[in-house]
Symmetry: C2
Subunit: 210 residues, 2 copies
Amino acid sequence: MQIAIVLYDRFTALDAIGPYEMLCRTPGSETVFVAERPGPVSNDRGTLTLLAEKALDEVPRPDIVVVPGGPGQRDQMGNETLLGWLRAAAATSTWTTSVCTGSLLLGAAGLLRGRRATSHWLALDTLATFGAEPTGERVVVDGKVVTGAGVSAGIDMALTLLGKVADDEFAQSIQLGTEYDPQPPYDAGSPLKAPAAVVGRLRDGTSVFR
Amino acid sequence: MQIAIVLYDRFTALDAIGPYEMLCRTPGSETVFVAERPGPVSNDRGTLTLLAEKALDEVPRPDIVVVPGGPGQRDQMGNETLLGWLRAAAATSTWTTSVCTGSLLLGAAGLLRGRRATSHWLALDTLATFGAEPTGERVVVDGKVVTGAGVSAGIDMALTLLGKVADDEFAQSIQLGTEYDPQPPYDAGSPLKAPAAVVGRLRDGTSVFR
């Protein structure tokens, strides 16, 4: 089983690494980071560089596709090399998945028409422009397409997927091995829970997130 | 403010990237991945490569030190280049932190004597051999030393640290921006919660974790 994690300039690191850490120990699987061109790929802060091992065209038929989000997603919305690869890969994949605004790339590739899907809370409404039905859920499974909400939701998305790709007990062993027993010091992880001023600054783009 | 995240062969990716994602937007900060030698560093699966931008000796006085864990930690326990750097950096740092078995490296460097600290649940007892007082807590703050439990606990560790380095509101904006509103599909993230059979296989080393 081949798991392809897509990288592009200015992706958000945790979008890719959260699912990677949950999926990379799946028995009989090979995980590969892919990009339009192999080599170093910088994240949205320009302070982290991951190596893409293979070019997209070297990985034509992955069993699982993981598309992270990040500010760089906008520049990929018209990239037919990537969107065409996503379409072709999704045609033969067992699972096609995304984290955060990675779902907008699945949408741009035409893969979300008529499907329930999620994205970063700030991007949720945009999903409708691709014929998707946006839901505020953290993880959405619609047929073979699994989408996760913003950034850290990729961990929950991948654990959910792992229960289907392997089984519940294996997914639980990964949760225990990675000691995923979350205890955030604040309860501000959703616009419904965070202080209004904090939500406001993210909505109006005056926060550190662009 | 300089934030140095230490990399070494066979580190665990999420140990490093969880804290990175929470800390990398701190106003007035520079985040740098450091290793004994700059260049590519492979993770514990050999399927992920991060670039270390600088050598340890190029970053002698970071304000914040983050030491991830991973199977490769064992090979570093006698590495005086790394342990000496940790000692020197900790002498001038504002915060010295670790995730998972990274705390064993802080211990080997003599930085945990008489301090309360945590680590991956499977490594917790080992902390005592370094004169530390192991606690089962997910995040432990003892003076300027902040330790996190296994792998994913680095996210909670770093958010806790962020509240001190910046302020609660900024930390909440990062939690909201990364949509860190955890909803794991299972409740198996701690040996107190996971099924006994799952805990047993991790304890006896017959799981995918080594």
